[in-house]
Each structure stands twice: as structure tokens, then as C-alpha cells.
């Protein structure tokens, strides 16, 4: 584990204006994630967990503060530059899987590599699907897979780009206990094997407890 953080959020805040005036979603949050480290963000519903994750992943821009990725500016980049860095360095696992329904399992896993411009994405995608135990279901469409299987495809898609950083938003939230356990095992196993840093948003204390560190959000304020 290296000491220099791969991801730094420096006093990051997010406010939105609504019909009842300005609403603060997140207040001056500072987070550092080191390479290979796993960090859980927990908190009650509406506390700002997904807002923070969106900001850290560069899917949204903060109203104040700054986010650095691998020590260089990230949140101040434009949309395209952030997308390019995200594609090269980050992976995602969503609660509701977010697989492309019209692509097969194999094509879904190939997609992020293709977006990076790789011409021959298929061998890597096959390998990762094999690792998550879906080597026999390459040609299936998401609609033909169970929830647990879909999330395994999503894991393969996240790891196939060999990310330095993986963002996971309630990865077991849509699954039953057994499937949830299996996905969590896979996630931490691959996290360890690849040395990827993990930022995990969860309600589940057991899942949070498996991370190296836990951060708690309450009403937009971050507590260690």
C-alpha cells in the first residue's frame, strides 16, 4: 500500500438551488483514498452519500473545494477530460447494475475497453467473465440473467479496464443475502488481487466493516 493518495477531495461542498432556496447537500468534505485502500461511506438515506460518490467519480462538479485524481486536478477539468480520465482509471458498480440491455454479457464487458479505443477487447472480457464464473454465459443478454449474475457481469465490466480506483454504489442493495454475500466476496477478492482502491457506498454495516476504513455522512457532514 502506498502512502500518496490516489484520490483527494479537499473541502468539497455541493449546494443546489430549488424552489425553497439554496439546499446544501454536502458541506466541506475532505477525503483521501490511498492506492489499494478500501473506504466505506455510510450514513442514513438522504445524508449525501450518493452526492459525494458522484463528485469523487467526476460525474458531477462540486460547488466548492477541489478533487484531485492521482495528485492532479480532476474536478476542475471539463466534462470530456474528466470522462477520459475516468475511463482510464476508474471502474463502476451500481446498485441497479446498469448493464446495456441490448448487449450480451461479453459485449457489456467489452464496452469500456472499446470506449478507450482498444481494438481487441474480446480476450480480456472473456477472461474477466470467466473470473466471475460466467464463462458459460457470454452470449446471454442481461434480461436472461438473474440479478446476481447481472451484478457479476457489472463487476467484470468494472475490473476489465484494470482500474486504479473502483466506485461501488450499494453493490449488494438489489440482491438477496446469499447473492449479496457472493458479490461482496468477489468484489473484495478482486480488489485485493488487482490492488485497486475501492470507494464503497453502503447501508450494510457488515459490508462496511469489511473495508479498511469507514466514513460516516450525516446531513451532508462527513465524520471519520
Amino acid at each position: 500500500m502506498q502512502d500518496s493518495p490516489i484520490l483527494s477531495a479537499l473541502s468539497v461542498g455541493k449546494a443546489v438551488s430549488g424552489p425553497e432556496g439554496t439546499l446544501t447537500l454536502l458541506e466541506a468534505a475532505t477525503v483521501n483514498v490511498k492506492a489499494g485502500e478500501s473506504v466505506a461511506i455510510t450514513g442514513p438515506s438522504g445524508s449525501g452519500k450518493s452526492t459525494l460518490l458522484g463528485l469523487l467519480a467526476g460525474l458531477d462538479v462540486p460547488s466548492s473545494g477541489e478533487i484531485l485524481l492521482q495528485g492532479s486536478a480532476f474536478s476542475s477539468l471539463d466534462e470530456d477530460q474528466r470522462a477520459a480520465r475516468r475511463g482510464a482509471l476508474c471502474g463502476f458498480v451500481f446498485q441497479s447494475f446498469h448493464l446495456v440491455q441490448d448487449l450480451t454479457a461479453l459485449e457489456n464487458v467489452m464496452l469500456p475497453l472499446e470506449l478507450q479505443g482498444q481494438r481487441n477487447a474480446e480476450p480480456a472480457a472473456r477472461e474477466w467473465l470467466g473470473k466471475v464464473g460466467l464463462g458459460a454465459r457470454l452470449g446471454h443478454f442481461p434480461g436472461q440473467l438473474s440479478g446476481g449474475e447481472q451484478q457479476r457481469v457489472a463487476l467484470a465490466r468494472a475490473f476489465v479496464v484494470q482500474p486504479k480506483l473502483l466506485f461501488a454504489d450499494e453493490p449488494t442493495g438489489s440482491l438477496d443475502h446469499a447473492n449479496g454475500e457472493h458479490i461482496a466476496d468477489l468484489l473484495f477478492e478482486m480488489n485485493r488481487a488487482t490492488g485497486t482502491a475501492l470507494v464503497l457506498v453502503t447501508h450494510d454495516p457488515a459490508l462496511a466493516a469489511r473495508c479498511d476504513r469507514q466514513l460516516r455522512l450525516e446531513a451532508g457532514r462527513l465524520h471519520d
Binding site: L59, A83, S96, L103, E107, E114
Partner: protein, 812 residues
């Protein structure tokens, strides 16, 4: 807020419902405006047709009706007229006249236009016939026998005072081929003239007014004698007014196409809305609701929410129809009756129910768990009932709204089947592209996969785009085709005067006079009067077995024969070859040729004042009798009249001005017959103007409906597009890539639809040609419109892609 208003407002929170509501709004608006405008047109032209006929129904025969027939029409307002030919002799001039003796009820409809002198007199309109002891006569009669208004006209054994010159009768119809000048007299004077004796030939017409011509016609039909027939407004309009028939068909076609387009828009948007309601259906099922309850609840609430939208659409459509009426200067109460209003209300609701009902019922059949687990519910979309409803729904509404679908069935079937079949044919192509796309750029791969993997989105979208493009092109093509045909038939300077009995030496005088007064001259035709006597050397009476009215008329009188090397514009050779400059040949009008059994190669002999005239039939011509141009049954090749006594016939257009110009010509050439057809021409041009305006309004509505389908198609897929872009963005795709994917997707969609639409337009040319253009195929730039629209769709896709890519912020 009441429970009812809550139920009505709740669906508006869903964007899919708002899109559906927009589609229904425009569907109601388009259907209402077009149905109301059609009712206006029908009413106006029916009134005009009834005026031309002289009533809503006319019983004509060669003697008075039977007592049993009188019983049928005695309670109706009716007028009895007697028509016959007679000879007027004055100052040693003999003139054949066409007499109409009218009773005190004539005219049942319209007005008689009179003038108090031949040239430059004061005109007045009246709604009665001449008093006893008086006659009203046509201008030619005054010219030919040298009488004036106020003089006495000897008719048979009596003398009647000419109290006015007849400018126009309301029931003179659209034709002006009866060359004998009109004498209008009071029936009570008829016996005094002693003209009609037992055995005399005359026509006895009973014109009647009735609210239900069909019923009276049905009652009269079994009582008809062989010499009697019933004429109704439709006969009059169809026979004498070509543009009206074309307009009626075009309006019906327009109504049908608008229905199909609205159906397509509702189909696309209903699918989206129903998919959103899937969760509600599943929840209701988990709570133990029966299928019927689910359908009733979902569909019932939906119907409740769409009803105000449909009513607003009807209101807007009504406003458009009223504005169009005002713009066209049409007055009077709205012509639409209860049935039309019911139709405009039920039309959109039927379309909605046809698409929503099968989908909702399919929704209620899907296991709740499948929906709640977000599993793909393909079974919802592959329902055979749904496809049947998609085809039958709009066709049924089109049939009801059009009134009769018989004439349009072929076009409708063609559209429906090609609209569905063509995208299905495009499908294998897309699948093949998908397989070959592995080596393409990532943008191309994603774009092709989006289309080829989403059969249930791509096919309806492509079908709707194909239909919209095809209908745009068809509407433009046939609308402008009709306008230019009417314009060609009745240009602004169509001849408004005809001259007969012109001699060769008169031509220079006429030419000078025409130049002096800015008249536009038309070709001169030599006329020889002759009677057909032999067909292939067999006397015509023996040769013609298939005798009918037209043949009878052709055989029993001298016909105006002409020679001409150039085929007139209003004629079309049906069989054989036009003779051009070849000698000894003759071309025959098609209907007469059919009734006489004539064909190319037959040898004809005519008797003329100078002996015989012989020629071989080398062509059979279709003649447009509605054109304001001289037309002939027999046209000989040049040189045929070398030894004949020929006079000349011509026509010309004279700008508006006073009657002294014509008086000058008549005094220079007193022996000619001059027919002033301004009144008839104005009536025909009035009809064409209104038909043209109605065509333009309808074309505008069609274009709007087609654009609606395009918008609905794009809106219906907008959510999916946003979700796709979001995911790609989260996975690291750049804006340029997103834009390119969108653009390529729309290029493929636009191009596929454009090719399909072009094929439909080409395939529809034959049935449309038969329906509207007497079998002629209409080639025009409109055939390229689908390709241009396809390019437009691609461009739009590019713009949307730019907007979506720029505006989207992916969320977790």
C-alpha cells in the same frame, strides 16, 4: 381538489403521458379540422350541384310522369319543365332554338340572371320564370335573327314578347355544347303555341326538393318507364365537374392519411406510457386485483385523463376549420352535423383504445414478479393482438371518417402493408450490419447495435418514420399534381368566347379585332357538317348493334367534323396512333367509338353537303369534355376537307370590358355565332379556386401530422437515449463519441426510412394515378422528398446528439 380532478391530473406527472397527450391533442385537432372542412366542402358543393341540377333530384322522361309517380313527389316542393327544340322564323331568318317551358315554381334553387339589352344593359337576378305572354331569350338569338328586348318573338302559332335577355339560368349545368340558343317561356303559354302535338319529341323533367333524395329515388326506381331516369346531385357533380370528384377523393385520401399518421403517433407514445404503467399493474396484481380490475383501473383512469385533451384538440381543430372558412370567405352556419361531431370525438379515442387496450390487457397478463424484478417483458410487446390493432385500428377509423373506403382501400392496404413490411425487410439488413460491425469504429458499432438489438423500438420507429415520409411525399405530389392539372384545364385566360360559322374570309377581320382588344386567340378548326352512314361499307344502322343513347345521338344528326394534324392538349390517344400529317385517316372519341363498336382499321363513310367523306380509323381518343376547349367526336387528318364546304370554329379569351367590343365584332361579321361562356367559366373557375384552397389547407394539415409523428417518434425514445448516453458517459465516453453515435443512429434510421418511403411512393403511383389522374403516372421532384426528409432526420439526430451530449450529467 375533488377525487375526479385528482384522477385526471395524476398521469400528467409522467413525461410519457405528456407525450401521449400531445399526440392525442394533435390527432384530435387534425381529425376535427379536416372532418369539419370536408363537411363544409360537401355542403357547399352539394348546394352548388343541386342548383345546377335544378333540385335535389330530377325525374326526366319523354312525357309526363305517371299518377303513381306523382303520388310519391306530390308532397315535395317540385317544379315541372318541358324542354323541346323548335324553329323560329323572323325576317326570313330561320333559327333552331332550344325551348324550356317552366311552371310557377321554377327555379327551385338559385337565381336567374337577366339583362335588359344585348350589350351593356343592366343585369338583375330573379327567382322566377317569365310571366305568361313573355319569353326570355339568349343573346345569340337576338344576334342571329335581329331582334331586341321588347320585340315580339313568333313561336309556333303564338307571339310572345321578349321581356329580357337571359344571361344565366341556375340549372343550365356546366356544359355549353348545346349550340341552339335558349328560349325560356311560361308553361301556361305552351298550348297556345300548338308546337307540341301527339308524337312530338320533348323532354319532361320534374325537379324536386327533398331532405332524403335516396329514399325518394328508391321509391321512384321501380315505377320508372323505359324513357325515364333519375338524376341526382352526385351524378351532376361527378359528370360535369371533374375537379370536384378529384377533390372529394383527395380529401378522403387526406383524411385517411392523417388518421394513419395520428395512429402511428399514438401507437409510439402509447407503448411508452404502457411500459411505465407496468409496475402499477404488477403491484395491483400482488394486491390481488383481477385482470379485469387492472384493465378497468389503468385504462379507465387513462381514458379519464385523455378526455379533456381530446376535447381541447377538438376545440382547436374547430377553431382552425372556422379560421380556414373565414379565410376562404365561406359564410353561413357550420355545415357539420351531430354525426361529424361524434366522429371527431370517437376517432382519437378509438385510436387510443385500439392501441392501449391490447397492451394494457397484455400488461395485466404478465406475472407480477417478472415486472417487479425488472425482467424484460418481451411477451408484452410481441402480442399478435397488438399488431392486429395497430393495423385494424387506424383502418377502421379511416373507414368511418372517410365515409366510404372502397375507392381508397388499395392505397390504404398498400400503405399499411408496406409500412409494416418494409421495416421488417430492413431488419435482416441491420442484423447483417451488426454481424459485420466488429471491425468498425466504436461509434458505428454502438449505433448499429442500438438499432439492431432493439427490435421493439427500432421497427415501430422506422415504420412511423417511413409512413410519415411517404405520406409527406404523396400528399405533396398528389396535391400539387391536382393544382397544376386544374390550373392547366382552367388557366386564368381560358377562352371565354367561342365563335362558330366563321368563313375563311372572316379570319382577317377577326384577327384584327382580337389584336385591337387584347384578346388571346386559340387555334381555328375547319368544320364540315356530316352524318355517319357506312362502317366498313355496311350501312350504319345494320353495323351498329350495341345502340345506346350516345350512339343514337351521333347517328341521328349532323356532326361537326374537323381536320387537324396536331393532337389537342385535352385529348389523349387510347388506342392506335395519332395520324399527324398522314392522309385519309380519322381519330374517334373513345366513348362514341365504344358505343358504335369502332376500332382502329375500320373504314368510315360520312355524307356531307358536297358528297361523301371517307377515312380509316387509326386512333381512338379519350377526350376531356370538362376542358374549356373545342372537342370533336371525329378528327380527320389534314387535307380531308379539300373539296368540302367548311366553316371555321375558334375560341378566344377577351379581357373584362364593356359589351361594345363584342357588338362591334357582331356588326362586322353578322353571320357568325358568338357564344359568351363567361358565366359558366366563372362558375367552373370558382369551383377550382375553392378546390385549390381546400387542397392547400389539407396539405398543410397533413404536413403538420407527419411532423407530429416525427416528433412523437423522437420523444418516445428520448428517455432511453438519455439513459444510454448517461451510462456511456460514466464509462468514460467523450462528447464527440456520444454525438457521433447519435448522428450515425439517425443517419441509419433516416436512410432506412427514406428508402422504404421512396419504395412506397413509387408503389403508390399506380393506384394514385388511377384514383386521381385518370391512370396517368405522375413523376415529380416530390419523389425525392423522402430522401431529403431522411437527410433532415439525420441532421436533427446530429443536433439532438449535440444537445444530449452537452446537457447530460450522468448520475449514480
Amino acid at each position: 381538489m375533488t377525487e375526479l380532478s385528482r384522477l385526471m391530473l395524476r398521469p400528467w406527472r409522467d413525461s410519457a403521458f405528456r407525450i401521449l397527450a400531445l399526440a392525442l391533442l394533435v390527432a384530435s385537432l387534425a381529425l376535427t379540422s379536416v372532418v369539419l372542412l370536408r363537411a363544409e366542402l360537401d355542403a357547399r358543393f352539394n348546394a352548388r350541384g343541386a342548383e345546377m341540377l335544378g333540385g335535389h333530384l330530377v325525374l326526366d322522361g319523354s312525357r309526363a310522369p305517371e299518377p303513381a309517380q306523382r303520388e310519391i313527389f306530390s308532397d315535395l316542393a317540385h317544379s315541372e319543365l318541358i324542354k323541346f327544340q323548335s324553329v323560329v322564323v323572323h325576317n326570313e331568318q330561320v333559327l333552331l332554338v332550344s325551348v324550356k317551358a317552366v311552371d310557377q315554381h321554377w327555379p327551385l334553387l338559385g337565381e336567374v340572371l337577366l339583362s335588359d339589352q344585348r350589350f351593356g344593359g343592366t343585369q338583375s337576378s330573379v327567382q322566377h320564370g317569365p310571366e305568361a305572354g313573355e319569353v326570355w331569350v339568349a343573346d345569340q338569338l337576338l344576334d342571329r335573327i335581329g331582334l331586341q328586348v321588347g320585340d315580339v318573338l313568333p313561336l309556333g302559332q303564338s307571339s310572345l314578347r321578349i321581356s329580357a335577355m337571359l344571361v344565366r339560368e341556375p340549372d343550365q349545368g356546366g356544359g355549353f355544347y348545346s349550340m341552339n340558343p335558349r328560349v325560356l317561356m311560361n308553361r301556361s303559354d305552351l298550348d297556345r303555341t300548338g308546337i307540341l302535338a301527339p308524337g312530338s319529341r320533348y323532354g319532361y323533367d320534374v325537379a324536386m326538393l327533398t331532405g332524403n333524395p335516396e329514399a325518394i329515388s328508391e321509391q321512384l326506381t321501380p315505377t320508372l318507364r323505359p324513357d325515364q331516369e333519375i338524376e341526382n346531385v352526385d351524378d351532376t357533380l361527378n359528370r360535369s365537374m371533374g375537379p370536384l370528384k378529384q377533390l372529394t377523393l383527395w380529401v378522403s385520401l387526406g383524411v385517411m392519411l392523417i388518421t394513419v399518421l395520428c395512429g402511428a403517433a399514438i401507437y409510439l407514445t402509447t407503448g411508452l406510457r404502457v411500459a411505465r404503467r407496468a409496475t402499477m399493474a404488477a403491484l395491483l396484481r400482488t394486491f390481488g386485483a383481477s385482470r379485469q380490475t387492472i384493465i378497468r383501473r389503468l385504462l379507465g383512469h387513462e381514458l379519464l385523463a385523455v378526455l379533456p385533451v381530446v376535447l381541447i384538440g377538438i376545440g382547436c381543430g374547430g377553431l382552425i376549420a372556422v379560421s380556414a372558412r373565414n379565410a376562404l370567405g365561406w359564410e353561413g352556419a357550420l355545415a357539420a352535423g351531430a354525426s361529424e361531431w361524434l366522429l371527431v370525438l370517437l376517432g382519437p379515442l378509438t385510436l387510443f383504445a385500439a392501441f392501449a387496450l391490447p397492451r394494457m390487457s397484455a400488461l395485466a397478463a404478465v406475472p407480477a414478479l417478472q415486472v417487479l424484478n425488472r425482467q424484460d417483458h418481451q411477451s408484452l410487446r410481441r402480442s399478435g393482438i397488438e399488431l392486429a390493432a395497430a393495423l385494424i385500428g387506424p383502418m377502421a377509423v379511416a373507414a368511418i371518417v372517410t365515409g366510404s373506403i372502397q375507392d381508397l382501400l388499395l392505397v390504404l392496404l398498400l400503405l399499411a402493408s408496406l409500412g409494416v413490411l418494409l421495416p421488417a425487410l430492413v431488419w435482416p439488413l441491420l442484423v447483417a450490419l451488426d454481424k459485420r460491425s466488429k471491425r468498425w469504429s466504436v461509434a458505428s458499432r454502438i449505433a448499429v447495435r442500438r438499432l439492431s438489438r432493439r427490435r421493439t423500438t427500432t421497427l415501430p420507429l422506422m415504420a412511423a418514420l417511413t409512413l410519415a415520409m411517404a405520406i409527406l411525399a404523396l400528399a405533396g405530389q398528389s396535391g400539387t399534381g391536382l393544382l397544376s392539372e386544374w390550373q392547366r384545364k382552367l388557366p386564368a385566360n381560358a377562352p371565354n368566347h367561342f365563335i362558330l360559322n366563321l368563313f375563311a374570309e372572316d379570319q382577317q377581320v377577326l384577327e384584327q379585332w382580337q389584336q385591337q382588344h387584347g384578346a388571346i386567340a386559340n387555334p381555328l378548326y375547319p368544320i364540315v357538317r356530316g352524318r355517319l352512314t357506312l362502317i366498313n361499307d355496311v350501312p350504319v344502322r345494320e353495323a351498329v348493334t350495341k345502340e345506346n343513347d350516345r350512339a343514337d345521338r351521333a347517328l341521328n344528326r349532323d356532326l361537326a367534323l374537323t381536320e387537324e394534324g396536331r393532337l389537342p392538349e385535352s385529348n389523349l390517344v387510347r388506342d392506335g396512333q395519332w395520324h399527324g400529317e398522314r392522309r385519309g385517316e380519322v381519330s374517334v372519341e373513345a366513348e362514341l367509338a365504344d358505343s358504335l363498336g369502332l376500332k382502329a382499321g375500320d373504314h368510315l363513310t360520312f355524307v356531307t353537303s358536297r358528297g361523301e367523306l371517307q377515312a380509316t380509323v387509326t386512333s381512338i381518343r379519350e377526350v376531356d369534355w370538362e376542358s374549356f376547349a373545342p372537342n370533336f367526336y371525329f378528327m380527320f387528318s389534314p387535307g380531308a376537307f379539300v373539296d368540302q364546304d367548311a366553316t371555321w370554329l375558334t375560341s378566344f379569351w377577351l379581357p373584362e370590358g364593356d359589351g361594345r367590343r363584342v357588338a362591334e365584332l357582331m356588326s362586322a361579321l353578322p353571320h357568325i355565332t358568338l357564344l359568351d361562356v363567361n358565366a359558366i367559366l366563372e362558375r367552373a373557375q370558382g369551383i377550382v379556386t375553392q378546390a385549390s384552397q381546400a387542397t392547400a389547407v389539407l396539405a398543410g394539415l397533413l404536413v403538420s401530422a407527419a411532423l407530429l409523428v416525427l416528433v412523437a417518434a423522437l420523444l418516445a425514445t428520448a428517455d432511453q437515449r438519455r439513459a444510454d448516453q448517461g451510462l456511456l458517459r460514466a464509462l468514460g465516453a467523450r462528447q464527440a463519441l456520444l454525438r457521433k453515435v447519435n448522428w450515425l443512429e439517425f443517419v441509419a434510421l433516416g436512410l432506412g426510412a427514406a428508402i422504404g418511403a421512396t419504395l412506397i411512393v413509387l408503389a403508390a403511383m399506380a393506384p394514385l394515378g388511377i384514383l386521381l389522374f385518370k391512370g396517368q403516372l405522375l413523376w415529380s421532384w416530390w419523389q425525392c422528398l423522402p430522401l431529403l426528409t431522411g437527410a433532415g432526420v439525420a441532421l436533427l439526430g446530429g443536433l439532438i446528439g449535440r444537445r444530449v451530449a452537452a446537457g447530460y450529467r450522468p448520475s449514480m
